[in-house]
């Protein structure tokens, strides 16, 4: 095995740090959530993460990271050993410490200027003053001295705690086949953990059968011997209640049945560089194309009544290939998926911090945290999401006095939720604040010359102004929301991701932002449409609906065709005009309109035919086509035809932009 390069080691360090920081954040959040029932496993997980971070940053020569991690490790060690009690102030200090680690590690990766965390280390060190000594209990006589020898200091402490709490102490002896002892042991451990605490696991050597391995687990539990024996009735283990004179009839320990199910993922997870997955996925994209080509040939052959026998064979093979490729594709996309819980955790920390800065009391309610999203998508939406959260905290949730006056609870609520809808995920940020004052928005839009005086606007159209460049006003810009960065930036950012944002609001009740995002950016579902002799792909995540209207419903407002769709006027763009293609006249004088939307903007694309939905892999276009407005890239269809993928964001910007905002309502 070749020694790794410095770069590789740094990458490894950063990836591992990220996981450890996540562990720290997650467990601090668990304490924050339930400060009265802090489990030993939570405190030990905190300690272990800080300990590992200290060790690895030490060997990397990152002294500042190591020092800060060391101070946190010391505090967490005292907490888990019962020598220090958790308090609100200490929890905040630990959270600050973890944030400091994050900053230092970011600067180690070259992302930021190095920060000085010396005072932070001092503050953390001071928190450890005057530790109480823990009294120790005598060990029970029946305890195997070999076990006592291998207990770490912490495990020793847990044993003491178990005895002090008057819980029963069991030795569970198990023997497993060597091939799959890790799975079998994990399963047994999980079962025991459901009944108490596994204090230590000692592999025993020498005495047992040649092809297997034995373990003695030391377990503390409230349950008595009978309850424990019942729990372990299906397991080939020997159960001993420590200190009991007669251990009862010991069960023989035959070779256990093969266990196929594993209960934990601890040693079954792998960490993969996302770039490698991208490479694999690209290759898969090529495979998807080959599959489509074969499917097309088989279809052509069948339709043309070619060699019927071989055509049927090819058709079957194509179907089998299709089945396997989609399985592979789903699997590969699946490994890129992470639950949005990680994103929510980060958001909750940001909310707590911003709320502290603003002096507002906020509770965060989350739901749908298990919803999964492509890792790169999660990274890409972190900033837009944070921006909306800041908006909600700064402009949405009122001050305590205002809330009281309005008869609302002092504590404001932010609801973060996620849900998967087919190939898209909705992420919602809802607040129970003051809501958006439409009259105010309208006035601002007038002042900023975004709205045309004297024209009538629907509620939706007024909310549109929020996403217009230049809407953010001096009055609404604070330190929290960030100078000069308005919702227009959020909208643009989302447009790049083929996402949409919708806002609904009720004065006095609150505001809800809903982000709609494709679950991955690599392979997307597209609507294939025809215009004249040409075919185009439109990312389905940008398609709100498709409608068929009579040609005479189109009216011209200004110089632009518009239709009335429900309570809303919708500007139309004929793709045939945009790309200078002669459109095939539809005999029945009806038009297909694909309503696309990114952010709050909507546009109706007029097309000749809708050819169906297909999964496509977006490829960059050559220099010839680069810079052509409205084109995001190219893709190949199964018939070996290369077609253009429309960039809905730039189409909207190009076609409507400022003009839609000033568009009168077609009464």
């Amino acid at each position: 095995m070749a020694a790794r390069t410095k770069d590789e080691t740094l990458r490894e360090f950063l990836a591992e740090s990220e996981e450890l920081l996540d562990t720290l954040h997650r467990n601090l959040a668990a304490i924050e959530h339930a400060p009265d029932s802090i489990g030993p496993e939570t405190l030990n997980a905190l300690f272990r993460a800080a300990h590992t971070l200290k060790g690895m940053s030490g060997v990397m020569g990152l002294a500042a990271v190591s020092d800060l991690a060391h101070s946190l490790e010391d505090v967490m060690d005292r907490l888990r050993m019962g020598k220090l009690a958790m308090s609100r102030a200490l929890l905040d200090l630990l959270a600050d410490g973890v944030e400091g680690l994050e900053r230092l590690i970011a600067s180690a990766s070259g992302g930021q200027a190095p920060t000085d965390t010396g005072t932070l280390v001092e503050r953390i060190r001071r928190a450890m003053d005057a530790p109480q000594a823990a009294a120790s209990a005598a060990l029970p006589p029946g305890l195997d001295p070999e076990i006592v020898k291998v207990l770490t200091e912490y495990e020793h402490h847990r044993l003491q705690e178990t005895l002090k709490a008057g819980r029963h102490l069991f030795e569970v002896r198990a023997h497993f086949r060597f091939e799959d002892f890790d799975k079998a042991l994990s399963k047994l451990t999980a079962k025991l953990q459901s009944a108490g605490e596994v204090i230590t696991t000692l592999p025993s050597s020498g005495v047992s059968a040649k092809d297997g391995i034995g373990f003695t687990l030391l377990v503390g539990s409230q349950r008595d011997r009978n309850a424990m024996a019942q729990l372990l009735a299906d397991e080939a283990v020997e159960l001993v209640l420590v200190g009991e004179q007669d251990p009862g009839p010991a069960k023989p320990a035959p070779a256990p049945e093969a266990e196929s199910a594993s209960t934990r993922s601890l040693s079954q997870t792998i960490r993969v560089d996302i770039a490698k997955l991208d490479g694999l996925l690209n290759m898969l994209g090529e495979l998807v194309l080959s599959k489509s080509v074969i499917a097309q040939i088989s279809k052509d052959l069948l339709q043309n009544g070619g060699l019927v026998g071989p055509a049927m064979e090819l058709h079957k093979a194509a179907q089998a290939l299709e089945h396997r490729v989609s399985g592979l594709q789903e699997g590969l996309i699946e490994v890129r998926m992470i639950p949005v819980a990680q994103l929510f955790d980060r958001s909750i920390r940001a909310i707590k911090k911003i709320a502290r800065d603003l002096g507002k009391d906020i509770q965060v309610v989350t739901s749908g945290e298990e919803t999964k999203l492509d890792k790169s998508m999660v990274e890409a939406i972190a900033d837009p999401l944070l921006h909306m959260i800041r908006n909600a905290l700064d402009h949405g949730i009122e001050s305590k006095d205002e809330r009281r006056a309005a008869g609302k609870p002092d504590v404001g609520t932010i609801h973060l939720s996620a849900a998967q809808k087919g190939h898209t995920v909705n992420i919602t940020v809802a607040d129970d604040g003051a809501g958006i004052d439409l009259a105010n928005v309208y006035q601002t839009a007038l002042t900023r010359q975004l709205a045309v005086p004297g024209r009538e606007y629907s509620q939706k159209e007024i909310l549109d102004f929020l996403f217009q460049p230049g809407f953010s006003t001096a009055e609404t810009v604070t330190e929290i929301s960030g100078r000069g960065v308005g919702l227009d930036v959020v909208a643009r950012h989302l447009a790049k991701l083929n996402g949409m944002v919708e806002v609904t609001t009720q004065l006095g009740q609150g505001t809800t932002f809903v982000l709609t995002l494709p679950i991955t950016l690599v392979i997307i579902k597209a609507l294939i449409v025809g215009v004249g002799p040409h075919t185009y792909a439109i990312p389905i995540s940008a398609v709100a609906e498709s409608v068929m209207v009579e040609a005479n419903q189109v009216v011209t407002v200004g110089q632009r065709p518009v239709i009335q769709l429900r309570d809303h006027s919708l500007a139309l763009l004929r793709l045939s005009d945009l790309f200078g293609i002669p459109s095939t006249e539809r005999k029945d004088s009806r038009l297909y309109i694909i309503v696309v939307g990114l952010a709050e903007k909507r546009l109706g694309l007029v097309v000749d035919t809708i050819e169906g939905q297909q999964e496509i892999v977006i490829k960059a276009v050559g220099s010839m086509l680069q810079g052509i407005p409205g084109v995001a890239g190219a893709t190949e269809l199964g018939n070996r035809k290369t077609i253009l993928v429309l960039d809905v964001g730039s189409l909207i910007d190009e076609a409507v932009g400022q003009r839609t905002a000033a568009m009168p309502r077609a009464a």
């Binding site: 030490g58 060997v59 070999e146 592999p203």
Partner: protein, 122 residues
Amino acid sequence: MKRVLVVDDSSTTRALIVATIEEMDGFETIEAPNGFEALKRIPQQPLDLIVTDINMPDINGLEIVHFVKHHPDYRSIPMIIVSTEGSDEDVKRGLDLGAAAYVKKPFEPEQLKSTIRRVANV
């Protein structure tokens, strides 16, 4: 070639220990990211040395030392503990259980190398 099993749950630390050992002539390494994997690796091939961390989930370094030093087939494999100074008590227990040496993290590569040479009798 002397074969060394490196057990550490931090992939970064493990990589650096492995890199240090592989800079030495006549040494090759096998890695285990946790105690389970270590127990699996040990019987798979003859080993000349085991370098282990202490603080690991489920099966800790002390338990690995105990296992190796009590096993009729493996008890002659020398062991080195590489661990942070977190608990002197834990290090002492490791040495009592039969580990030949202790190297404190963060280690100087030269110090780890000389300890390995000494323990592996090179």
